[in-house]
Amino acid sequence: MGKENRKALFILIICLGIFPFFIRSDYYLSIMIFVGINAIIVMGLSLLMGYAGQISLGHAAFFGIGAYCSGVLTVKLGFSIFTAFFCGIFLSIVMAMTIAIPTLKLKGHYLAVATLGFGEIIYVIFNELLEITGGPSGLSGIPSIHFFGYAFKGGWRYFYLVWTVAILLLIFSLNIIHSRIGRALRAVHGSEVAAQAMGVNVSQLKIQVFVLSAIYASVAGTLYAHFVTFISPSTFSLFVSILLLMMVVIGGGGSIWGALLGAGILTILPESLRAFRDFDILVYGVILMTILLFMPEGIFKGLILSVIWMRKKW
């Protein structure tokens, strides 16, 4: 995966590893857990958008499928956490294939439209299937994760669990990017005709990446459900899908590190703007606009460019 990536990965693991030793507050730990959960979804989306060049407006729905599968199956049907987790993944794969196979054979942004509709349908299902999902008032009492008698309760334990999963998926993503498949993906982004002429099965590749990104979102959903132990449909609305897209854009599409950065910034920012009280939305908007105005390719690329610029200057 390249020397620089390995170095960055090493630094990231060290930083995350020692984080709970310095920050003991449950509040900060839980924010970092949400960063990790969002990062998992955004990494998948970044593969889809930044590399395969496709937009999904329905990833909150896959996040929701993961969360509700875990929630409903463990609470109402007494499934084990593991079984419920895999059921969520399986359902997400089936759903993603159903959407992707017809739409990704077409050129253009049909996937965006199809996922928009899909997201709304799933949102309505979460709201209306009162007996199963609990409807708008939500589903509570989801057990926390425990395996082999070890309970992942308490901030720091869950922090390590979420970030272990996130790091594993990060490594998986980096491996893909620096492989034959990753090159093919970037080729499709560069010139679809030329990629086909080189023997790349473009529609199959796009379908695979879309399904993979749905799996990422579903995994994040399970982690979310077992952490907050209460889920309601509003967490999986269109607004959340758009927020996830924003994370990719702000961080910078075309880079998995950008995805991590975007997830981090847009998860932490609203929390740190509480001091502005009623004006927080205003400040939030101004910050986002400034970032996109001065770093149209995202923060990650912007930071790299400014480091290069500074080195030249001094």
Binding site: S179, I181, G182, H189, G190, Q196, M198, G199
Partner: protein, 265 residues
């Protein structure tokens, strides 16, 4: 008993009654032609004669309206572009279609796609075999860059190198698929005379390595110099076919290029 084997070698590419209609426009009209293995064959003709359309049909980007295309004896019309690439036909594009977001070396590495097979999950998990294949891809890609003299550009972004080298890079990338038939769409377009001489040498070298070459080209000196046979198209129809000498003297060819005097009845 061996009579069948004694007959002429099988053509590597053969079209019969190939036809393409765009709305009311006949782009290709009942075209029959053959390319024999090891040949350099050129397709010439005025603008709009259907040359690039023909390439797009052979490589599966456009479906033909009628007729058949056979590659090594098997029909390939209607196949998807990536399937045709897998069968052993590679191409370059008239207007450069490089992966501008990737380096020169990476562009050629994409060309190795058909010769390799690790999938999404295998590469994600770095299963054994991935590393070996990656090494193979890198080495063979570097070889192709070397053949076309692009090694010193290897790590530059493809969109940043001069047009002449971009054209060469397209050829390197196409060669990386290890094709049996290489289609070159105006390889000399936009190049200066020295670069054109160099392209001619390269095309000969490619044929020398056992690859059949079919090219579309406007630069007559180059075409007459390197081709074994030439097909002349005009308004989608074949007006002449033969060796460079035969084609040069053909009246219909002169008409197609210079126009016919209009005679009033």
């Amino acid at each position: 008993m061996d009579e069948e084997k004694m007959v002429m070698p099988q053509p590597i590419l053969e079209t019969s009654r190939l036809r393409k209609i765009f709305g009311g426009l006949m782009a290709i009209v009942d075209l029959n032609f053959k390319v024999m293995p090891g040949q350099i064959k050129a397709i010439i003709g005025p603008n709009g004669a259907g040359k690039t359309t023909l390439f797009n049909i052979i490589t599966g980007i456009l479906p033909p309206t009628g007729g058949t295309i056979r590659f090594k004896g098997g029909e390939i019309n209607g196949e998807k572009p990536h399937r045709i690439a897998q069968k052993g036909i590679s191409r370059t594009f008239q207007t450069v279609e490089l992966f501008g977001n990737m380096t020169v070396l990476e562009n050629v590495m994409v060309g190795r796609h058909v010769q390799t097979k690790v999938g999404l999950i295998q590469s994600g998990l770095r299963l054994p075999g991935v590393k070996k294949e990656e090494k193979f891809v890198l080495e063979t890609a570097q070889e192709k860059l070397d053949i076309l003299g692009l090694t010193r550009r290897a790590n530059e972004p493809a969109s940043g190198i001069p047009l002449g080298e971009q054209k060469l890079l397209e050829i390197a990338r196409a060669l990386a698929t290890d094709p049996q038939l290489l289609l070159l769409d105006e390889p000399a377009g936009g190049l200066n005379e020295t670069e054109i001489l160099k392209i001619g040498e390269i095309i000969r070298k490619i044929r020398g390595s056992g690859i059949t070459v079919l090219l579309v080209e406007h630069h007559m000196d180059l075409v007459m110099n390197i081709s074994d046979e030439i097909v002349v198209l005009n308004y989608g129809e074949k007006v002449a076919e033969g060796t460079p000498e035969e084609v040069k003297g053909d009246e219909k060819v002169i008409d197609a290029y210079l126009g016919v005097e209009i005679r009033y009845a």
